[in-house]
Amino acid sequence: MLNKLLMHPATKPVVFLLCLLPFARLAFGAFTDGLGANPAEFLIRATGDWTLRFICIVLAVTPLRVIAKLNALARLRRMLGLFAYFYVVLHLLCYSWFDMGFEWGEIAKDIAKRPFILVGFSAFVLLTPLAATSFNRAIKAMGAKRWQLLHKLVYGIAGLGLLHFFWMRAGKNNFAEVFVYAAIIGVLLAWRVWNFARKRQARPAVAVRGSEKPLRTG
């Protein structure tokens, strides 16, 4: 039933609009002075929050697909991943603009000098090739295996994003939200390890039958 709903032609555009809602709310707030006393800080933090949320969402696709047998979810994964990139670009843009006034020299110095900014920036840099190779033709050109290997970078990126957030909050000992994101990402990655081990166990039986084909893991 859910699979059918997910396959509906309207699903993609609807999800697309849903993913744009946070952006619409922020843009509306920015133009109507509705973001509180410090709108710059609000925008920088909100776009960072939404980047982390989209990373959680996109990491949840495969476990959900397998556990709930929602194969049709795979259709949405690319779009969700690209929205994570969309929000991280906004995050970087807000920081560069409202905090640093587009002074590139200062920005470069800031990235080099402050570990938490360096870590966040690295996560952005690493996410860039993933976004850039999200088109079908890129998959074909690279070959599915290499493409998949490259896109496994997202696990490291999620870790860097968490570290960036953790460090940002560390000076104030305010970790409650960091732990929520860490728990979500932790569970989603732990499931993959467990799933990988489970498939591996099933492997010898396949080998006995003489199959040399490597098993595909999601």
């Binding site: 509180g36 006393a37 710059a40 800080e41 409202f98 905090d99 800031d110 000076g171 000992n173 305010n174």
Partner: protein, 269 residues
């Protein structure tokens, strides 16, 4: 709460005042929550009457002061100060109060009193986040005796001509305009005169980030961000307003610079 125009040098900046709404809704007051929007939502439970401030330690005249007595202890003045938060934003706030020195003179510190420690309220019944592990409660702060005696150091009871809103540190707080905002303890219940440098809440939580002095200083960066500039809340242009250059001692160098003559301010951050 009316206050006469203060004659203390540096106490009347001509800069545009921050809107009362921003000054009373964008606050750091962790006892009421860690988001800056939390204090205005959660501070309503705080009971500011009756209220006593205990003066103890190395003084000839220790004692308990009821808030009504404190209010009358000296003439209330209006002081328009810049406030620079360690996070990189700033406001301009008209406070009402009098120099802390007036109280200190009354209680007659002993010769060996070198520092003043401020202890603030930590009441889990009215302050929902006092149980959290963010800081070691109660929130404490401290000043060197000469800093505490400086005429700019204000014992404040009001702002914008009114009594302090709870989220701004009612009923009595400190305002030390040349130091980062967190040095100005809110809702004070105890003032203690001591010989050794007292430990302070933020220094205990993250010593490498928050030193005892915490003077506003554009040349000494916070480990995680630059302190060279600041965002003035409510500056024209809103989102697109350029950040301002942060001034040494928050612009009060002429008044307080001599307190730190010969000190290495990078080491004594």
């Amino acid at each position: 709460l009316p206050g006469a125009k203060s004659a203390v040098p540096g106490a009347q900046t001509m800069e545009k005042l921050t809107d009362y709404k921003d000054a009373s809704s964008y606050n750091n007051y962790y006892e009421f929550g860690v988001d800056k929007g939390d204090p205005v939502k959660n501070a309503g439970m705080l009971k500011t009457r009756p209220w006593t401030v205990e003066v103890e330690g190395l003084v000839k005249k220790p004692g308990k002061y009821g808030i009504e007595d404190l209010l009358k202890l000296s003439a209330q003045e209006e002081r328009i100060y810049r406030l620079r938060c360690v996070e990189g934003w700033s406001m301009v706030i008209p406070w009402v109060g009098y120099s802390l020195a007036e109280l200190i003179k009354k209680v007659e510190p002993q010769g060996n009193a070198k520092f003043v420690e401020f202890v603030t309220l930590a009441d889990p019944k009215t302050m929902p986040f006092v149980g959290s592990r963010v800081l070691d409660w109660p929130y404490t702060e401290g000043l060197r005796m000469d800093e505490a005696m400086h005429p700019l150091t204000l014992l404040a009871f009001g702002m914008y001509g009114e009594v302090l809103p709870n989220q701004n540190g009612a009923p009595v707080r400190l305002v030390v305009p040349w130091k980062y905002g967190f040095k100005s303890a809110k809702s004070i219940v105890k003032i203690r005169f001591v010989e050794k440098e007292p430990s302070t809440a933020w220094n205990k939580a993250a010593a490498q980030e928050y030193g005892f002095y915490s003077n506003v200083n554009p040349n000494v960066d916070h480990p995680r961000w630059s302190q060279a500039t600041e965002r003035r809340i409510g500056d024209g242009g809103g989102l697109f307003a350029k950040r301002r250059k942060t001034e040494m001692f928050n612009g009060y160098e002429a008044q307080v610079g001599q307190l730190y003559a010969g000190m290495d301010l990078k080491k004594n951050y």
